[in-house]
Point group: C2
Chain length 189, copies 2
């Protein structure tokens, strides 16, 4: 997605340890028009499939997911990182965050993820694939099928995309970062 | 907003302690069409003002905020509940959550909230107004002006709305819950 790539190159910033900061337009301050264009790309990719629900994780996945849900007229469920006091019948999985160097739990009420669901998982970043592993676990627990996985930015050098594709998942990333070596953002053509 | 009120009455659920659970359509599973209609109402209310930015708090405020940002073509900034490792020049405020009975910090990078900003704050619930107090503090620290505050559901019996209106804030709530006594949802006409 050319518009996204240009934005990453112009406004993205590198930090030591393979961190790409895009918080001026994607995950702190958000550009709603870019977010809509991102959702259009996901809609083209996943719209013809049998998907009946969009799945994401709070917080940065919510904006692209709700835009996609709106375009495809599908409900959107976001996994929570804290168990709400009123949640019953909860599905839960542990996720290790590389950026934050700690584990956290994600959970979804079993009311909103069931064996009749064919979901597309949307997230802002695909790095090591740890959040995706958590979502795969939640879907396995629910008996739900993952029809596709869409990421705004994939960091190829962290291997999550390769792992998921080898396992047969339909992974679609809108921009793929080959390397952040010497803090130069190198995108795949 | 009639469509929202009907949805609250049909799908909302009460829990002891003044908790209204709307997670089948608003803050766990989300109905994107309802979310768009909600954003349209906010756009009508705040669209003519001098607002240049939409402000919200992760996670449940993000969906209505990005929809509103899209309709009004304005950037959306969401306050984070955990300080990112890469955030410099951070504005910070403490918020007490009644539902969760604990305090947490919200923060916004000073890059994305400044003295030139005229913001509309959007959130899913207005209860005691504690999240709003946190946002007011962040805006005071930044020298930003709060042009309006829009809430999907206000719980009038918890007093946050009265407090904010008395202080002169332009508060607009799309559905106002008068009472949840005996677990009966009583909405204001």
């Amino acid at each position: 997605m050319e518009k996204l790539k240009q934005r990453i190159l112009s406004d993205g910033r590198c930090f030591p340890g393979g961190i790409l900061k895009v918080d001026s337009f994607l995950n702190h301050q958000m550009d709603p028009n870019l977010m809509k264009s991102i959702a259009v790309e996901f809609a083209k990719q996943f719209g013809e499939s049998s998907v009946n629900k969009i799945l994401t994780v709070e917080a940065s996945g919510i904006a692209p997911a709700i835009m996609l849900g709106f375009l495809l007229d599908l409900p959107v469920v976001f996994a929570k990182k804290k168990k709400p006091s009123t949640m019953e019948g909860m599905l839960q999985a542990e996720v290790f965050s590389f950026t934050k160097q700690r584990s956290y739990n994600i959970c979804i009420s079993s009311e909103y993820l069931t064996s009749t669901d064919k979901v597309v998982f949307i997230d802002d970043f695909l790095a090591y694939g740890n959040a995706s592993r958590g979502i795969i676990s939640l879907c396995e627990q629910a008996g739900a099928e993952i029809v596709g996985m869409g990421f705004i930015i994939e960091k190829a050098f962290q291997g999550g995309g390769e792992m998921l594709r080898k396992e047969g998942y339909n992974v679609h990333s809108l921009a793929i970062v080959e390397s952040l070596e010497d803090c130069i953002i190198k995108l795949r053509d």
